[in-house]
């Protein structure tokens, strides 16, 4: 991997970093991402397979 070398870069102040803190944004994103599980192919694939299996179990027995 090619690397870039930077000499004597200006140090970012603690105040500037603190200003960038946004916990509510991360929390919101975490909630959105977890709600995506309901819309994922994996979820519906598993749910669909289970439904089909249950259907056959009910029909056969």
């Amino acid at each position: 991997m090619k690397r870039k070398l930077i000499y004597n870069r200006w140090k970012v102040s603690s105040e500037e970093i603190k200003k960038q803190q946004d916990f509510s944004f991360i929390l919101k994103k975490a909630n959105i991402d977890s709600s995506w599980k309901w819309k994922s192919i994996g979820f519906w694939g598993t749910a669909g397979t289970t439904a089909v299996a249950l259907f056959f179990i009910v029909i056969l027995f």
Partner: protein, 193 residues
């Protein structure tokens, strides 16, 4: 002797406080807030030290905390600060950013660090030696560069390096020594060219 990073190295009381925050964050992600406030700056600095784009460094830092919140349920306390776990997530997020070509692997060095190396190598600090050092650093493999950065750029103790890289403290010491030897070899090789 190196200074101890007070944010990383905790007293038993601090570890207990952190443990309480972790338990409560496992119950409700909202309770992760004090851990986020405590570690945001040091994780950002760790990320930004290794890349050139500040805004992207903030993004990667957010990604680290997002992953941490999502996986806090699986976190197992091992008697060390949560920081070591966060650093491991940061390391993996950084590698992902480099693989996706979103970020460029960057070595950030300042004049004080150059002077430290010259002292270790028993060489004079001048522009030629500075160039030799830059070339040698760019030739190091990924792990050796990481060890050099953690120890000589960020001034971390071997215990902390071990926890970040998930290796024993003594192993961290040996590997860092070998990495420094390799750097010295590359530095001297360049001088013979």
């Amino acid at each position: 002797m190196r200074s101890i990073n007070p944010i990383y190295h905790h007293s038993d009381q601090m570890l207990n406080q952190e443990m309480e925050w972790i338990i409560s964050a496992k119950q409700d992600p909202k309770n992760f807030a004090p851990l986020y406030e405590k570690y945001h700056e040091q994780i950002f600095r760790y990320v930004y030290q290794r890349m050139d784009d500040k805004h992207l460094a903030y993004d990667v830092t957010s990604q680290v905390f997002l992953k941490a919140i999502k996986n806090i349920g699986r976190y197992e306390y091992r008697g060390v600060p949560l920081a070591s776990w966060l650093y491991r997530i940061a390391k993996s997020e950084l590698n992902q950013a480099f693989r996706d070509s979103r970020a460029k692997r960057t070595i950030n060095i300042d004049s004080t660090q150059v002077a430290t190396f010259m002292e270790v190598f028993e060489e004079e600090t001048n522009s030629i030696n500075k160039k030799r050092l830059f070339h040698a650093l760019s030739q190091l493999n990924g792990l050796d560069l990481q060890l050099i950065e953690l120890r000589y750029f960020e001034d971390r103790a071997y215990k902390e390096i071990g926890e970040i890289l998930d290796i024993k403290e003594n192993n961290a010491k040996v590997k860092t020594f070998r990495a420094l030897e390799k750097l010295k070899k590359l530095f001297n090789k360049k001088s013979r060219l």
